[in-house]
């Protein structure tokens, strides 16, 4: 739009310099390229939406057929018996898997939230510019490590470490997966949390400092309340990251369908189950369909978490 106004404004000079159809033709070409470009960009934008819906419908189509048979959704959600390949008595209860996901995610968040928000506060309030840049690079590097590598660290580093520190026979358990997930979700928490703190006007800090507040008082009485939506969004995005993570938890949590009684019990998560079993289930079989149903479940959880985070962030912007 703006561009057109500019062309129109430039018209008189152009006409005087190059009389005839030349200017008109150039204008036409310009406006044509502009239209084409606009459509390409529009298509890119729309395709993102199309992909999301496409994926959702595909997953839904593969899984939803099951719900119309004699399959009990209640039993699916409430039973802990996951025997998808049993010859005599096939049972598809995902409660242990849900609890597995929840236990690993919750433990991860108990570790990651204090660390992530603490690091965000440190980076934003205590670092000089130089240290801040350095730290941010390191934190972004942390985000760039592929999750298989994390899984590898889980098996070869965390496993023996947990065994020796806590004197437990096996180190592949909830704690191991949670530690990895915590490390994986800290970067996003730090970067979103730091943005939120940076957005708090310096005048608030000055007001508090001039009233005699100490650094800590400024942080917990002024900054945290002022940035609380952004900080909450940071936490939720970290949760979303943790819930959806597959490879690392598949490798590090012991892969046992089990309701854990402590962080030293092995578990299996929703994501790990899909990753491990989908290749073996024959296409269209009930087992295959159940795995897609788990996919829908996961999709709904992460969607809800991300949407909440999004709405909160929007709330921040509106103010």
């Amino acid at each position: 739009m703006e561009h057109e106004v500019v062309t129109l404004g430039a018209q008189p000079t152009r006409r005087s310099m190059a009389p005839g159809g030349d200017a008109a033709r150039r204008r036409m070409v310009e406006s044509l390229t502009e239209h084409v470009l606009e459509w390409v960009i529009r298509l890119c934008g729309i395709s993102a939406i199309l992909f999301v819906f496409g994926i959702f419908f595909f997953v839904l189509r593969e899984g939803v057929g099951l719900l119309f048979g004699d399959f009990s959704l209640w039993k699916f959600l409430s039973s802990t018996e996951w025997y998808p390949t049993s010859r005599s008595n096939v049972r598809y209860g995902v409660l242990s898997l849900i609890v597995g996901t929840l236990s690993v995610t919750t433990t991860a968040m108990l570790i990651a939230v204090p660390f992530g928000l603490g690091a965000a506060i440190f980076v934003s309030e205590f670092c000089d510019k130089r240290a801040k840049e350095g730290l941010k690079i390191v934190i972004e590097l942390l985000a760039a490590i592929p999750s298989v590598v994390w899984g590898f660290i889980g098996i070869s580093v965390m496993n023996p470490l947990i065994q020796t520190v806590f004197h437990v026979p096996v180190g592949l358990n909830v704690l191991n997966g949670a530690l990895l997930l915590a490390l994986m979700s800290v970067p996003i928490m730090v970067s979103i949390g730091e943005d939120a703190l940076k957005a708090v006007p310096d005048s608030f800090r000055e007001a508090a400092v001039a009233l005699g507040a100490t650094r800590w008082q400024v942080i917990y009485r002024v900054l945290v309340p002022a940035a609380k939506n952004g900080l909450l969004a940071a936490v939720l995005l970290g949760v979303g990251r943790a819930v959806g993570e597959t490879m690392a938890v598949l490798m590090a949590t012991g892969h046992a369908v089990n309701i854990p009684h402590s962080v030293f019990d092995p578990v299996r998560t929703l994501t790990a189950t899909i990753a491990a079993e989908l290749g073996e289930a024959s296409v269209g079989s009930p087992h295959y369909q159940v795995l897609f149903l788990i996919g829908i479940l996961l999709f709904s959880i992460t969607f809800a978490v991300n949407l909440t985070a999004d709405l909160i962030v929007k709330g921040v912007r509106r103010k």
């Binding site: 007001a207 001039a210 009233l211 005699g212 507040a213 100490t214």
Partner: protein
């Protein structure tokens, strides 16, 4: 710090000697010597960039928030050198309050803004609800906001009109019982009405508090201060009673400035 009852005419409020300040390599204050009288209103005038804000921010040491600031010389507030190693920044800032150029109430309720100072300086257990309520009423009455705001104390302070916000920023200093109030162009964001209201408030507070106000508004300095300090490029040029400084300035540069030749 001595109590307000011991105040005498000769009692100085703020004294500086050979005060220099550098922002990294840039010297913003050059050998400032001044004596600000207690209980009076002193205005600081001068062209923009001459160091008024910098000087004001020395008096409660908030300049030190920037790591690259270096200060030499002496500042005595109510007889005590504020750069002495045994001075507590918290105590200093309790007795020297500051009002900023843009009203900056905190994004919490009106009530909490006013008791903010009390909360940070006392244990939770030391403060009773009735004490806090009384402090809020007193502070708001003092700045003339009580009747307007008494029914909406739980509202966010950032939603008030600018004039109310600025008055609130003055009101929130009062519960910590400051001796000195520093104001950095407190009316620059306000309209004529708001400016008049703040000036009236300053007169009402005069005597009980020593007030130092930075202003680029000559008429305001004239109307609203007992003494006036003119600064130029980091140096103090002239410091006299406001009436004298405006009627017959001793320094030709002062004359030029108040005649509006630059600034």
């Amino acid at each position: 710090m001595t109590s307000a009852a011991l105040r005498t005419e000769a009692d100085p409020g703020i004294v500086t000697r050979a005060l220099n300040l550098w922002y990294a390599d840039f010297q913003a204050l050059k050998g400032i010597d001044l004596d600000i009288k207690r209980g009076e209103i002193t205005s600081l005038i001068g062209p923009s960039g001459c160091g008024k804000t910098t000087l004001l921010r020395c008096f409660n040491r908030v300049n030190e928030r920037y790591g690259y600031v270096r200060t030499t010389g002496e500042i005595k507030i109510l007889g005590k050198n504020i750069y002495d190693p045994d001075v507590s920044l918290i105590e200093l800032r309790k007795s020297v309050g500051m009002v900023f150029q843009r009203p900056n109430p905190l994004p919490i309720s009106i009530y909490e803004n006013i008791v903010f100072g009390m909360r940070i300086h006392h244990d939770r257990r030391q403060l009773s609800k009735s004490q806090l309520d009384a402090a809020v009423e007193l502070a708001l009455t003092e700045v003339g906001l009580w009747n307007e705001l008494k029914d909406r104390l739980e509202q966010r302070a950032t939603g008030l009109q600018l004039e109310q916000q600025q008055k609130l920023c003055i009101a929130r200093l009062l519960p910590v019982k400051p001796e000195i109030i520093l104001m950095d162009e407190p009316c620059s964001a306000l309209d004529v009405e708001g400016t008049r209201a703040i000036e009236e408030l300053m007169w009402a507070l005069r005597g009980r508090y020593t007030i130092v106000i930075v202003t680029h508004n000559m008429a305001q300095a004239r109307r609203a201060s007992d003494e006036c300090i003119f600064m130029l490029m980091g140096e103090l040029v002239e410091h006299r009673s406001t009436a004298e400084l405006f009627l017959n300035p001793a320094n030709p540069k002062t004359a030029e400035y108040i005649e509006g030749r630059y600034g």
